[in-house]
Symmetry: C2
DNA sequence: GGAATGACAGATATTGAAATCTGTCAGCTG
DNA sequence: CAGCTGACAGATTTCAATATCTGTCATTCC
């Protein structure tokens, strides 16, 4: 690597910060560490991020946005609303479970980060429910999901599946039978959305 | 109070432990404190509970059982399955939210205790889902809830409402609009349970 | 002149020695 | 003799001194 050769940019700082977090964990990762990894003084880092908290927030946002982007692809696929809804929820669960199982320490690190950045997480959730709303609205248009308020239905679906995407339940994602439980919840919700009685 | 006059019983130790936990919090509550509160030596406490962990586990179980007992009353009420289901879920949410809002510190204490006593919590959840299963089975019998597997449906309903009873979501229970969100999720689930399509 | 540096003050984290706690058990007490 | 006590060893926690970090800014460098 040639850390000193290129100009210092916010992007490079974020990459270095992710690496430092991966190596040291959230408690011991310092701004000085990040600067050291980049071969600059820590004062230079403060030129791009006003505080350590702002830096951590930016890293958190990047991480969450990567998931959002993956899921956004599913929203516009050429499939029925029900298929897309199942695929979207399944992909969300799969993405989270994979991250948690793949590198538990890194996942724990990001769980700490999300805990301290409520605002960013709130925006991420708003983003995800907006995607869900688009799918359900399509279903409302075609008559598959006869709901009066797709946005409210989207929030309900998102919250009802919380056990399968909220980090505070990560421990349960490796238990035997979670897949059946996930399917059971999704089936129940889709039957609720599909029910014509209003 | 006359702590030295009565005989030392497991029950009295549990009461004293709750008091010590209330006063000192989970991190600083010691067996010595409990013994001091009872006016006995800590050796005597170990006659009734093999370890500090066992003592904390027993306190946790007591606390959880109090909620179970309250809800059990609703299961056998003389109402329709749907009414009982709504009442039961509402009471569960209300009980948890009340505990969390009433005395946040004590609630935090018990959250720590439940985190360290996975087995007891597992039994508590099994107990609650058994209660739910009874209500849904009644609905299956009467045709209100045409589900093939009431126990599986109960688990799904319990998990889908997790946001409204799992302690890790306690922070969100005071947000404005939670009641509407709760109602939306319950409505959606009940519509799913009531749907005849299988 | 715009970007980077490094010394600095106050806040936070680390460390290791001293204090406290857990769990045991031989002996006391009623 | 059944139940309680208190001294004890090893584990854990506390506390204060020490080291490191955060955020600023006058100065240097290209």
């Amino acid at each position: 690597m040639a850390p000193t050769s290129e100009t210092l940019t916010a992007e490079r700082i974020l990459e270095a910060t992710e690496e430092v977090l991966r190596r040291h964990g959230p408690a011991k990762a310092t701004v000085v560490d990040v600067a050291r990894a980049l071969g600059v003084s820590h004062g230079s880092v403060y030129r791009h991020f006003r505080t350590k908290a702002a830096l951590r927030e930016a890293v958190t946002k990047r991480w969450l946005d990567r998931t959002s982007e993956k899921l956004a692809v599913i929203v516009d696929r050429d499939e029925s609303p029900e298929e897309r809804l199942r695929a979207w929820l399944g992909a969300l669960f799969e993405a989270k479970r994979h991250k948690a199982g793949d590198d538990p320490e890194l996942f724990a690190t990001y769980t700490v980060l999300t805990d301290e950045n409520g605002t960013v997480v709130g925006e991420h959730i708003a983003d995800l429910t907006a995607q869900l709303t688009r799918i359900i609205t399509a279903g409302a248009g075609s008559g598959t999901f006869p709901v009066p308020d797709p946005a409210a239905a989207a929030r309900a679906v998102f919250q009802a599946t919380g056990r399968f995407h909220d980090p505070c339940h990560a421990r349960e994602w490796t238990a035997p039978g979670v897949d059946e439980e996930f399917t059971a919840v999704v089936d129940l919700l889709i039957r609720g959305l599909s029910s014509p009685s209003r």
